[in-house]
Each structure stands twice: as structure tokens, then as C-alpha cells.
Point group: C2
Chain length 261, copies 2
């Protein structure tokens, strides 16, 4: 079993599931927000009866800690083609993440397509340095970094925005990407805003992921861009493409840079 | 009192508020999704004790109808600078919209700013035709259209995407924009995808609005763009700017075009 699959194991319980938040996805001493979103999404997916989380929103209330947790699940509405569910990641009496998600079945989607945009033009992964070789930002190597093979193609300010990071990512242990792991990949790159501001950390307030296609095996090509940093609040928009050249997810998060140093 | 303020009046009740969904914002015989999101946001704002809904996500379960409704409100977490709440728009036994939102106080935000992007370069409103003069799309004039003065600057396919619509909007009755009305403005323009596909309607699955600044009085300059239409699913990304040249909101919705005609 892969690291990711081991770390989203759920046991049915009253009102949802119990689980164990793993320390393997820690960064800055706390589980990464994409991991906690993927964990709740896994619980919702199991209840939904539909495979694809077409839209997932998580609000981050307080950082969880590695250890036992409950995932409360509520079916909000089962419709004809979509089911909406709500999830809560709870440790002790404290809720850490509240999630709303709508599931569908992308294999049955039958509407029109029109997508002129193409994947970012990146040098091949083997020509891109791994992130631990990036200068400056990463003096420590948190457990999270060991979970991925992440190659940075570009990490720079952009003319019409604040900062952008582009590159390739896959699980270090060879697990292939799927719709369940896309919430994790959507929050796995270093913050794009670090291209223009240095900061200790950038806590996420809310993260929304739209799953647009089921990923093919292989690398994921990713672009994350922050255009507006306003009084510390920033959005980060992500696009994730698979090796077959299909857009598999779009993401947007609202995050906050603490007061200027 | 303005039309909008009249139509988001709330009366405290067990578990939240009661209200009356107005028919004035109907389009296609049902209340517009931005209006129902603004209505729930008004209830959450009243409970939050903080003025600015920095991020709001609504999942659309079934369309409401004009008439009596309840807005259930739950305080998910009151934190130091932000409060997260959940809202439910309910008619009879049926929940129509589920909302998660986090409120803050933008006047106290003290982090750094870096926003290279500037408002869209649009001809002045008086040189842009009102939407009812657009050819083709609007044979009927639903009540919703009478609530706004909406001028279309551009409505066309775009090279790197599906469709884009840009223009100006303000309330027809002279009410000034504020953070409470931004969820409504975020869903008020005709769908950008109509620039490339004709369709009867485009139901919204989920709409997220980030409030980034409090709007100055006057017109709002807006851009809505759909880049990826994939098997009927599409995202629509919006930017709303005020007359002072500040970005006041970003929006993204996931919507569905029914099966090709």
C-alpha cells in the first residue's frame, strides 16, 4: 500500500469515520492543508456513491495534529447526477477543517468541450532541479518534502502578478495520481508568493479544488500563480495537468501573509 | 430603501433567520444564484460580528422559488481575526443552497501588498451598449435584468480560452456597491461561455467569491472568463474592480452545460 493510501485509511463510526492523521505530511510541524483536505475528501467519496469530487472547498479552522481524529460526514443532497456532502475533521472537541464537496461521475459527462488552453511549456522533469536545491527558502526538510518528487521549472515574479511557480510533481513512492490525491497536489508546491516576499509561512484560510479530468499515470505539470497580494491576503490559483496533456484540476486558495516583518 | 436591501431583510428566528425570497431577481423563472448567495451571506454577516466576507462558497442544491424561506446559521469557529460560519437556505423541508463563509475585517488587514495587475482597459460605460441590445441571446427580459444597469464592453471568444465577457455594472436604482452585494454582482453577467456556445441555461454547481477590498461608490468594472469547457463542465473566473481602480472581488464558479443540443 502506498504512503498516501495508508494515511487516508478510514474506519466507519457513528456519524462518519475515525482515522489517524499521519505525521508524514507535516510541514512546519503540522499536517499540510492539502493532506487534511484529501483525508476529508476520501471520507466523503466513500459515502457519496459517486467517484469524482468535481468541486471541494475546505475552510481551515485550526491546524490538526498527527494522531487520532474523526471525520464527520453529512449527505447534504443526493441529486440526479451529483451528490453534495459536508465533512468535518475533528480532534477531541475541536473541529479543524470544514469541507463542502459535490461529487459526480466524469465518465458520464456528455456536454460539449472547448478548451483552447494547453499545458504549460515546461522543460522535461529531468532538466528541472528538485525543490530542495532551490536557494534560500528551504533550510529545513520537513517530512512532507520526502513524500514527493517535485521539480521546479520556474519560480519567479511575473509581470502581471505577484509570483508564480511551475514544475512537475509525483509521489516519491511511485503511487500514481488519481482524483483522490488531487486535493493534496493542489497544496503541495511552495507558495507562489515566495517568489516576491519571504515569509515564515502562509496559512490557508480556504482552498477550493475543481477536479476536471481523471489523471493519467505519470508526472503532473503544475502552475501556481498569485496575482493579488492585498494587505496580506492573497489568492493562489493552480492548474494541474497530467502527462496526457489534460487539465485534471484547477485550484484557488485564499491565504494570509502575516504582518510584514 | 433600495431594492437589494429590501430583498435581503431578515427576521431573527430559532437557529437563524426567516426571510422572503423576492421574485425581482428571477431569471428563467427562478431567483438568480448570486442573489440567493447574497441573501445567505447577509444572514451570516449579521451573526459573524465581523464586516467582510473574505471568502464565501455556495453549493447549489436545488433552485429556490420566490416566497418565504429560512436561513439557518451555524457559527463554525470564532477565531482571533476571522470567524467561519455555515448557512443554509431552506424552503419548506428542502434545502436549496449550502454556504460556507469566513469573515474578517479588511480595515484591520496589515500585511504587505503587491498587485501588479490593473483593471481591465474598457471603454467608458456610456460608450458600451446595455446588455438588452446584444444580438441573439436575450429574447426575453426577465425581472433580473431590470435590477441593473449593465454595459457590455466585449463579449467574445478569447484566444487562450472559451469565452469572455467584460463590462460595467451598477444597481439600476442607484444603490452603491458594498461587500454584501458583491456575491450578487459575481453572478450577474450573462455566462462568458455564451461567447462560444449557445445554450438555454448554465446551472451553477458551486460559486466561490473572495472579497478583496470594500468597493468605492460608482460603477464596477468586471471581467468573466471561461477557459476550460470539458464535457459540459466549465469554470467561470471573475474579477470585479471598483471605480477607484481597486480589485474588490474575485470569483470562480463551476457550472454545467447540459448535453449538446
Amino acid at each position: 500500500m502506498s504512503e498516501f493510501d495508508e494515511d487516508v485509511v478510514l474506519s466507519p463510526a457513528e456519524g462518519g469515520y475515525t482515522t489517524e492523521v499521519s505525521a508524514r505530511w507535516d510541514i512546519g510541524g503540522r499536517p499540510n492543508g492539502g493532506y487534511s483536505l484529501a483525508l476529508v475528501t476520501a471520507a466523503l467519496q466513500r459515502t457519496a456513491g459517486l467517484p469524482d469530487p468535481v468541486t471541494i472547498t475546505g475552510h481551515y479552522l485550526r491546524p490538526p495534529l498527527a494522531g487520532p481524529a474523526a471525520v464527520g460526514v453529512e449527505v447534504v443532497r443526493r441529486g440526479k447526477g451529483h451528490t453534495t456532502l459536508e465533512g468535518r475533521l475533528v480532534q477531541g472537541d475541536e473541529e479543524c477543517v470544514r469541507v463542502l464537496a459535490t461529487f459526480g461521475d466524469l465518465s458520464r459527462a456528455a456536454g460539449p468541450s472547448r478548451a483552447a488552453a494547453i499545458p504549460p511549456a515546461l522543460p522535461p522533469p529531468e532538466e528541472c532541479p528538485p525543490w530542495e536545491e532551490l536557494p534560500g527558502h528551504f533550510s529545513e526538510r520537513p517530512p512532507f518534502f520526502s513524500r514527493f518528487d517535485l521539480r521546479v521549472a520556474r519560480f519567479a515574479p511575473v509581470p502581471d502578478g505577484a509570483g508564480q511557480i511551475e514544475g512537475w510533481i509525483r509521489f516519491a513512492d511511485g503511487r500514481q495520481p488519481d482524483v483522490s490525491s488531487l486535493p493534496l497536489f493542489a497544496d503541495a508546491f511552495p507558495p507562489a508568493v515566495f517568489a516576491v516576499v519571504s515569509s515564515g509561512w502562509v496559512p490557508t484560510i480556504e482552498l477550493t479544488v475543481h477536479v476536471r479530468n481523471r489523471p493519467a499515470p505519470g508526472w503532473l505539470a503544475c502552475t501556481f500563480r498569485t496575482r493579488f497580494l492585498i494587505d496580506g491576503y492573497l489568492e493562489e490559483d493552480g492548474e494541474i495537468w497530467d502527462e496526457a496533456g489534460n487539465l485534471v484540476a484547477q485550484s484557488r486558495q485564499l491565504a494570509l501573509l502575516p504582518r510584514s516583518p
